[in-house]
């Protein structure tokens, strides 16, 4: 009877945490209790960069992380992190469930990881305390805290705004006092981090639709019998459907919650944002492998 340990930065009850828990239940059921999963939520074992190193070196067996921290390790992950690479969530699902997704999965193996599943994390948009953003011109001069990723920093600059480095824990008070004007995230994080209280303008520019990955230590996976490996893969696949369902519900709920707290949500003239992204692509998609991947993603309709 083996208990596999999995890390997650989100709190208990969050769709990603529940997705991995569901995977664990399926595993337990299908292996007659030989395998189960213990989820350490709320970053108990460390931030994503740290837990990635832990799962790579076999300290823990499983990890649910965002794709962005892998950009400097697995270059193929740059593609789904590119702004406006996906036209919709459906498009993202089709791509990641298909051949492109398989290619990205395979790219994790050299760093000692097996990708069990891609989970939904919705689309990310900018929110701020100053004004609704409708066109790219409205972004000029605003200061945003973005995740520590060169793509996000360059994207923000390409839109004429300033990407301000800052620990996540300081974002709330920094928007409140005016050190920065806003940040960017999906609805569930906007709501749970209470940023809605200090930045009420949420503008649906939907710059990325970046999925999350659920990975397993490769040595641990290879040590499984071929039958068990199949059970793991199938359980992960089945957990995806469940996670997507939970994610959709969570997004609706947190969007409603944000609106109740006074959030003003508006649409943007998206084409302007898409057009502004050329320098980001020029800088980050130089590698022929990535260029091919971008073409492949765009070929999926």
């Amino acid at each position: 009877q083996t208990v596999l340990k999995s890390s997650d930065t989100h709190p208990d009850g969050y769709p990603t945490v529940e997705g991995v828990k569901y995977f664990g239940e399926l595993l337990k059921e299908r292996t007659q209790g030989r395998y189960s999963v213990d989820v350490y939520h709320s970053a108990q074992l460390g931030e994503e960069k740290d837990t990635i190193e832990q799962v790579r070196s076999g300290v823990i067996e499983l990890n649910r992380v965002s794709m962005a921290p892998f950009n400097g390790t697995v270059k193929e992950t740059i593609v789904p992190a590119l702004p406006y690479i996906f036209t919709s969530e459906d498009h993202m699902h089709k791509v990641m469930d298909g051949a492109v997704g398989d290619q990205i999965k395979a790219a994790f193996e050299p760093v000692g990881l097996v990708v069990l599943a891609f989970y939904d994390a919705g689309s990310r948009s900018f929110y701020n305390s100053k004004k609704p953003i409708k066109t790219v011109a409205d972004m000029a001069g605003l200061k945003f805290r973005v995740i520590q990723s060169d793509i996000f920093v360059d994207m923000t600059a390409a839109l004429g705004a300033n990407a301000t480095p800052m620990p996540y824990g300081e974002v709330y008070s920094s928007i409140e006092t005016g050190v920065i004007d806003g940040a960017e995230n999906n609805f569930p994080s906007y709501d749970t981090a209470k940023h809605v209280e200090v930045a009420k303008y949420y503008s649906l520019d939907e710059h990325t639709i970046l999925p999350e990955v659920f990975v397993m230590n490769k040595a641990a996976f290879d040590a499984l019998t071929p039958e068990d490996q199949e059970i793991f893969k199938q359980a992960a696949k089945d957990s995806v459907a469940k996670q997507r369902e939970l994610w959709a519900a969570k997004t609706t709920e947190s969007r409603a919650n944000a609106e109740k707290l006074g959030s003003q949500i508006n649409d943007v003239e998206k084409q302007g944002f898409i057009d502004a992204m050329k320098p980001v692509y020029d800088k980050h998609v130089k590698d022929p492998v990535l260029q091919k991947l971008v073409e492949d993603v765009r070929a999926v309709k």
Binding site: Q44, G46, D50, E53, S57, G169, S174, T177, G178, V179
Partner: protein
């Protein structure tokens, strides 16, 4: 078994005098090896635990404190405080407390404060016929005010240990009233002890002199306004304010007071490096230790156990206060905050206690522990400056402990003392 190895080897090494940082590190290392986990995780936590931007506040506030002490800011504050309250009964005791409060508003470290204020006040008090034990106790207890008043790097450590999701600006604001309350209760205590012992008062130098000394001390004291105003008006973040404190202290001591020479600067920098490295190495190894506690689910089990004890938050808070006072007696403040926040905060929150309020309670508890043997850095400094043993100081410290405990109880059971001011600024 894992827990026995973790806590057993830690306790054993502590007892034989191994430095705390290495006790935490080797105890984690031994446990990880026993569990068959890759030991590199210990050294990863060691590095990641201290590679946090918010932790920059610790070296900066320590550095700023050292510069202010060496560059003449501290001594000018003493002169101003002396003119202000010297004529109250037990005058120099009152001067000591007021200085500690003013200096506490610009310095984050209670130990540095005990050295700075004690270094000036204790010899003067001795010379004017005050008992050395009285001088030492007033110094060591009033040094704790610095922990509560912003800036306070221990509050930053608390916020980080809580997962970095508690607003540091709110914590800073929440500490102000408890800090002032502590100052007031110590002044009252000092007054009564002084009256009983028949200590003298100083002549009042006249309002003109007070105004003059205020003007002299003002450039230093302005730092309070700069830090608080700068953070609240969005010029810099709470963490960045610590760096601004260093820059400001440099500017004032070099260009206004013209007292910081090259040698002072080098010594202040090296002193700050030594103190910071000592504190942050413990933070790093404590991060490895608390990673293992989380891995072994210690906090979760403790919360479940506490919940079976009582449903009453008043009882639980009392229990937590007793535990924290005990821990503070035997351990040093920084590592204790890091190790126990992930354990105690979930318990407190499960009883509906606000994390900002709980932070103030925790700082005050462990702060009092800085003043209790066998491990009490503030008390040691004050005693070393006064050249008496800890046991000599202990004989007459009790009224001051009483004042501290009373403030602790008030802060614990009247949440508004901590939470009202942050709500005003919202």
């Amino acid at each position: 078994m894992e827990l026995w190895i973790l806590f057993g080897s830690f306790t054993l090494l502590m007892l034989i005098g191994t430095p705390v940082a290495f006790c935490l590190g080797i105890a984690s290392f031994a446990t990880v090896v026993y569990m068959g986990l890759p030991p590199l995780v210990v050294f990863q936590r060691l590095n990641s635990g201290m590679s946090v931007f918010s932790l920059l506040a610790i070296p900066f506030f320590i550095y700023a404190g050292d510069l202010m002490v060496r560059g003449g800011i501290a001594s000018r504050i003493v002169a101003f405080a002396a003119s202000l309250v010297g004529h109250v009964r037990g005058g120099l005791g009152q001067v000591n407390i007021v200085t500690a409060t003013l200096f506490g508003g610009i310095s984050g470290s209670a130990v540095a404060e005990a050295a700075a204020v004690g270094g000036l006040m204790i010899p003067q008090m001795k010379a004017r016929g005050y008992g050395t034990d009285y001088a030492v106790n007033v110094t060591s207890m009033s040094a704790l005010i610095a922990l509560l008043l912003p800036p306070s790097h221990n509050m930053i450590i608390y916020s980080i240990s809580a997962g970095g999701k508690i607003s540091i600006a709110d914590l800073f604001t929440a500490g102000i009233l408890p800090g002032i309350l502590l100052a007031a209760s110590l002044m009252v205590t000092a007054y009564f002890v002084a009256r009983k012992r028949g200590y003298p008062t100083e002549p009042f130098p006249g309002f003109l002199m007070v105004a003059h000394l205020l003007a002299v001390a003002l450039p230093g004291l302005l730092l309070i306004a700069i830090i608080f105003g700068g953070v609240r008006s969005g010029i810099f973040t709470a963490t960045e304010s610590s760096c601004i404190a260093v820059i400001y202290a440099l500017l004032v001591t070099i260009f206004v007071y013209r007292q910081l020479n090259w040698s002072d600067f080098v010594h202040a920098t090296m002193g700050a490096v030594r103190t910071t490295a000592m504190v942050l190495l413990i933070i790093g190894t404590a991060a490895a230790f608390s990673w293992l506690m989380a891995f072994l689910k210690v906090p979760t089990s403790l919360v479940a156990w506490m919940n079976t004890l009582s449903e009453n938050p008043i009882v639980i808070l009392l229990l937590l206060n007793v535990i924290m006072l005990l821990l503070g007696t035997f351990m040093d403040m920084g590592p204790t905050i890091i190790i126990t926040t992930p354990i105690f905060l979930p318990i407190a929150q499960s009883y509906g206690i606000d994390p900002v309020h709980f932070g103030v309670i925790m700082i005050l508890n462990y702060g009092i522990g800085l003043n209790t043997p066998p491990v009490g850095a503030v008390q040691f400094v004050a005693c070393a400056v006064g050249k008496i043993t800890v046991w000599q100081a202990m004989r007459s410290i009790w009224p001051f402990y009483g004042a501290g405990i009373m403030v602790l109880l008030l802060v614990t059971y009247v949440p508004a003392i901590s939470l009202w001011l942050p709500s005003v600024f919202k």
